[in-house]
Amino acid sequence: MVQEKRPFWAVMAGLNSVSRKTTAATSDTDWGDMLRRVAQTQDSEAFAALFAHFGPRVKGYLMKSGADAASAEECAQDVMVTVWRKADQFNPARASAATWIFTIARNRRIDMLRRDKRPEPEDLPWGPEAEPDQEDAMALQQESEQLAAALQELPEAQRSMIERAYFNDLSHSEIADATGLPLGTIKSRIRLALERLRHSLN
């Protein structure tokens, strides 16, 4: 259950003991599995762990994008409410948990800063009903980790260009073509999943 009306340190201590009992919130935490637990059993412990990890990151993202602390806090809360409510739409063969939460935060940011509308592409009919392929999900998870590691190792100038593109609104013409990131592996993984989906629909 959620700790209510307790000081911040007590809430945090509670969170830590909760996550130690279940899954230690380390870099190895399977956030996708936490989302699955939220979706399937409304598991508030799993959600508290997700909240402790992603809440501050979403807030940081919004502040780097130009929001003041108060509206960033409010929007980060909105994003986490959406994470709970839409957890059943998360598909681990399609995106990592961080990527999925990024897309929710990005859309909330567009609304908050009244940026240009961003229509979504036509939906593919793979939602909760299409059972995600376990192997695809695991491989995608690994490739996402490799991408994160590669991002850390980029030369500073390149890394900062990419960060500015995502946080500070570089215009498309200011973005350099080469990112130096191994995007091909993730692309191939998604492509494979798409082909399987198309095949299963025919």
């Binding site: 809440g55 809360q77 995106a95 990005r106 996402s144 593109a165 609104d169």
Partner: protein, 213 residues
């Protein structure tokens, strides 16, 4: 078979959420019918995910989690998303932008048998549908800024090759091109630009303000 795709800049800017609405519409429409770019977009979203997951975070308020849990408990059921519609020519994002299928498009003649319909977007860039009879040349024009042209029906050819359904031409400042619709089926395109086009022939310069392009 789509052979002309979105470039990395456009995909990254669409993923980051920083494109003008008119370009967002073109990107979303292309991805709706191109699995290749849909997969590429997923890899750009993954960069966003990796950046989000970095450690530079901002501490949430002390009551944040309990506030969120209270909102979750009192919130009603998740609203069913409106089912998307498309028609044989227009993918869902375009149907949504027009408010209906191809039969709902308000065409206006712009000369030479060419018709266009301006779509409502933010004013940072303009999006319009073009209807070009088979065999007819699109008025010769040069560019300032960036122009995206996505083929939805029929095909056109220009200096860069053949563009059929799903193909997107990305023309920047240097390019001066003369697209000609292939004989046969009329060509329908979605075009977006962030600068007024400079027509060189057919349409007199004076007409430009009235065309809103």
């Amino acid at each position: 078979m789509i052979t002309h795709h979105l470039n990395d800049k456009l995909l990254m800017a669409y993923s980051a959420g920083s494109l003008p609405e008119a370009f967002n519409l073109v990107v979303a429409t292309h991805i709706s019918i191109c699995d290749e770019c849909r997969a590429r977009l997923a890899s750009f979203d993954a960069i966003g995910g990796a950046l989000l997951d970095q450690d530079d975070s901002a501490e949430m308020g002390a009551q944040s989690l309990s506030t969120v849990m209270a909102r979750i408990k009192t919130a009603g059921p998740v609203a069913k998303e409106k089912p998307q519609t498309r028609d044989a020519v227009l993918p869902a994002p375009l149907v949504a932008a027009i408010g209906g299928g191809l039969d709902k498009v308000q065409w206006r003649a712009v000369g030479g048998g060419v018709r266009q319909a301006i779509l409502k977007t933010s004013d940072k860039a303009t999006a319009r549908l073009l209807h070009i009879p088979g065999g007819v040349a699109v008025p010769d024009h040069g560019h300032q800024g960036l122009e995206l042209t996505l083929v939805l029906q029929g095909a056109f050819r220009d200096e860069d090759g053949r563009f059929g359904r799903g193909d997107i031409e990305i023309a920047s400042e240097e390019v001066e091109h003369t697209p000609v619709a292939e004989p046969g089926m009329d060509c329908i395109c979605l075009a977006a630009t962030d600068a007024p086009l400079k027509f060189r022939s057919i349409l007199p310069r004076l007409a430009q303000p009235f065309l809103r392009i």
